[in-house]
Symmetry: D3
């Protein structure tokens, strides 16, 4: 089956009606507007979330649409995004983010869509968007009775193959996903997906002085690398991105095929 | 002065820092995801709001950036957008919309931006986004003391020249801006700006059976044309859009030059 | 049919029970407490809203009651009410106004009233009170199933006859409804309805230096006339008010007769 | 000193400015729209609150204004007002009531008023309006630094003289203030203040079957008298009202003179 | 019938399932963390509320469980708890307290519990927790249809016998329950229930300079005794506590037996 | 230095004043009331959080107090706690949890405490309590200026030594912390800390059928083990708990010593 476009925003309403009729699903990409070091754009998370949703939807067999991306995410946290003090980082409060995702879900459920997925690429949105999904379904008993389901993919992917980990972080140099912010993987993905938006020559290898298991407010300087790259951005390459991306996409595709079958 | 990009989301944070240093302004486009008849896409309002912001910012002399568009707007109302019962229309509640715009404004004010403008293209967002601006400034006394100002352009433009009105609505056939939804002007603008997204052959000339000065809930069928076009969409042309657009853009540019000088 | 009183607040509860039994309607007047120039009282909008509701209800055939007036409205806006900086202007936030109107509607729906109308006379309340009605009905599915309907008359009237316009604004001098605040029409209506509350000799003809299509915060001095009258208050007369009032009332009566028949 | 009117809503804004200049105080009456038995109107609490504020303000020496009454109070409770199931009772939620009173207080503080009092006549509003005052002052540090103060008179009076108690409740028959709802005192006050609004011949002596120290939801029938009068309404007389009223007024006047001196 | 424990928090979930099966009830103790003079601990109200719930539940015949205590109560008020300016007093806002109690009730109702009681020992929580119960039941129509009921015991007890009053407040020296804060009764109960937590030698007999029927903010010094004991703490004894406690417990037990029978 | 008690709730207010004077810190334990399999009590998380705070505070050199535990946590999630459908699980919404922790922090900051730490033992509370701390500090500028700091220890510990991991999960059998719910570590800690509350003979080794990297609502049966133990509870022993506990405690102590020095 082939449709004119997978972008929800590009459909006319009669096309949306046909999509509901076919039991098409809707993916809602969720990102952030957040500093990503000296070399990646503020919109990195939103771009990747949207790319990921589009790549999933490119599998026509699943009949999925991509809703407009939630581009303002929850506040950046010091240990996973540099925190609130970098300029450019433009965030939503918890209440607003939860409300927005809940409204969008309720609105789609009310229209009759029954296969919904939150495709998130910003760690700080975790838990908040689960609450959105929980409340949206609680207030949509008719949709639930009619079989509506929501996937909450807060992590974007569940892990990479050993080969891929070795490619990205050779010799067991993986520092943990929380510092994978404007680091090797994100830089590689952006070089693969949006090379024109990467200022590669400005990338720096950086690291916080300290990276404890707890957070502190006000944020200690030692918790945040000056560049905003939480890890070795210069090791990112377009090749690594090209290798890694299909693995990420495939995991999400499989998950959706399993949990939200047509 | 020339900068790499006017898209806020494409900047790195050091570029955002430079922009603040230069006292660059930020435009926040606000639209909707809402039915626009048989021929225009759901994202029409968001697209036009974003286009308008970009067109304003194309005047390099004003040094303006364009923040990510607020793509989910307030609920569509029956008399100006067809109301909540068209599928595809995916909306935010008043509380969420107000919270989101307020958060974005507070976030930008905190970073040090002082020239801000809300560029809206969805009538139903009116008043809500004023409250956002009011509260954001009330909670940012330091920014206000430092000269921060917010323009709230709820209407996108203040009126068109007599010549333009005659071109768009010949012979005094102007039906009022509230029904200019997926009608002549919006269709013309979309044919000019995004012809590839218009299904022109599906456009219909339509009109509600009744269009009173008050609203009713639940929505009476007679208030809403079946097609979702509130007026004569077939009279829209790319030429009219090309003629009209610069007049719209110019009004906003002048307003910003006057109220938010560098 | 004749009842002891049309004021909801003057009924006993058994009389309210009888009213529900008869399927009587309830009008909820909504105004503001807001500066109205040198000559009109702060309560002007609330008084006119309440007068309008009472005048509508004076048509016994429609069997309507008038609920206590919502006297604190949304913040005054610079271009339509002078804005927040006049003393005397005492306002509710968007959240509070929405909550109050929603609570009153839900409460009346729960009692069994099914013919409800919001009768508003304060432009700034627009959209907020629509959200109240929308949410109240969404949370009252049993009432909706039972035929409950809400009219949202945000504007009080839909326009005046050409004769009336010529009487009020002779020679095509109509400046737009947004500046009709403590101007010719409101002054005339108050002189007709509450002459004892008008300090007519203090009325001034005033006008803002600039009146653009957008708003600014903080409010530029040039947007607001010093007197608080947005237009030529001295041209208001009791005669104009007496001529105009029945036309306003009649429009609302017809609307209610049509949309909320007994 | 004599002023044209003590009603805040009847002032023009320049008169409000003069009042602030003189350091005039503002009383905010708070009542309810709630069943009051077979003989008293739904607006009884709002009327008495407003009357009380006006009576206090009639002492010109204190230079007090009376703001528009908050006419929708918190939900009626079974043991002190009959509870939610009487038709006519039209209530605000806790969140709305708190928000409204807070907004009004903040608005008056921002204008420069420094002597404020909440004059309440609806037991169920207690604690909620204290929170309003607490939050309004917390968010108005400049006003507090400038000497602003708020009296929270949740009870309207502190007790009556022994003579008055004997007059109202002869032979020690006082049943407690919580059941003094549409009972002897309220009936007497209304017969004194608004005899035209009392359907005296319909008054009944009533009493709940049980009146425990706790509440139950859903409300047991035994907790609420069928008539809605919680006590012996037929013992109310205009004479008792006339005797009692000055004692109530005087207590409030003394309190205000002591706590909010000019 | 005998169960392993009456503490809800000590049950396993299969034991909770059995309790629901048996139609066991759940008591939710609600207290505060608030100054209680020189001699009683900050947790006094929470301790007594929890003790009271446990004592009620010790009557095995009623098959009641005790949920975790709500230990942070509404803000202390000057006239009944000393107000916000004593250090140690750590409070919840109205919105938070209402939300927490509502969430707990909704959660228990959803699990299937149908006999619920709020056991409160902090005057300032009154009305707020009623709103919680009201809203929880409104949003749980299935539970209500299934017979769920909530007791709201805001006062802990309804009054004491004449003998007990004479024992506690000999010679008619009872000053009113509102100042019974860290006074004779609370001191006595704590000496009976938790003698190890009472610094009896530091107790002082104290009294506010003035104790009017209204509140003031900011709090006048004269309204609050310096020690934080609102009354004669030194007259409290373990004997009085031992005598008084069973009377308090018995009232609650009878109420629950009557209103929430198994 | 030695004080009478480290429990905040057991202090009198003058003792709280002394603690502030000494610049004592306050730990706020945060847990949940949530199913923990067949053998652990519903209060497991709250107990461990409270135990952890007390154990940290037992290091007198740091001069720390333990505030009353937040015993109702955010909703249990399917993959880390079994989800909402186990009876016994009694949760707070996101809004309530955030509000409560924020209120407590603001209250302590206002009193003058400057060394604060959130000690959490319920994964689902993550991010929500960060927002609480963020907002509390944002609204307490005077406290921040005075050096106040908040630690947000969402995880309780940062990892265990290799020896300890081998002891708990021999042979590399560690399944990930998210399923360590009523599993080996929690069971061991409870056997060590509260053996009387563990029904050890009912413990089962369990595991979800599927454990993907995303969540689904409504919850698929395959995501949740029937017993509620997410892992091999029977491998928990008091010995393992005794070995593990000091390592956990020590990490937190070091963190606090480093970040919140006296």
């Amino acid at each position: 089956m082939s449709v004119r476009t997978r972008r929800f925003s590009e459909l006319t309403w009669p096309e949306a009606a046909e999509a509901i009729e076919r039991n098409a699903g809707v993916l809602i990409p969720i990102g952030s507007t957040e500093q990503h070091g000296h070399h990646l754009p503020l919109g990195t998370d939103a771009l990747i979330a949207d790319d990921l949703a589009c790549a999933i939807a490119a599998d026509e067999a699943q009949d999925l649409l991509v809703a407009p991306c939630v581009t303002y995410g929850y506040r950046s946290r010091p240990l996973s995004g540099g925190g609130p003090h970098f300029v450019g980082t433009t965030s939503a409060s918890a209440a607003t983010l939860m409300g927005l995702v809940q409204d969008v879900l309720e609105s789609l459920l009310e229209q009759g869509f029954r296969r919904l997925a939150l495709v998130n690429w910003h760690m700080e949105n975790q838990n908040f968007i689960y609450e959105s999904a929980y409340l949206a379904l609680k207030r949509s008993p008719a949709a639930v009775a009619n079989g509506a389901r929501v996937m909450i993919a807060e992590a974007g992917f569940g892990g990479l193959s050993d080969e891929m980990m070795e490619l990205l972080f050779p010799g067991g140099s993986f520092p943990g996903w929380d510092v994978e912010h404007a680091g090797i993987m994100e830089t590689s993905l952006m070089l693969h997906l949006h090379p024109e938006l990467v200022l590669a020559d400005r990338a720096v290898d950086d690291e916080a002085e300290r990276h404890p298991f707890y957070d502190m407010l006000p944020v200690p300087d030692a918790f945040v690398p000056k560049s905003g790259s939480l890890w070795k951005a210069r090791q990112g390459t377009a090749e690594k991105g090209a290798a890694c991306w299909p693995e990420v996409v495939e995991q999400m595709r499989r998950g959706i095929a399993l949990e939200l079958p047509r």
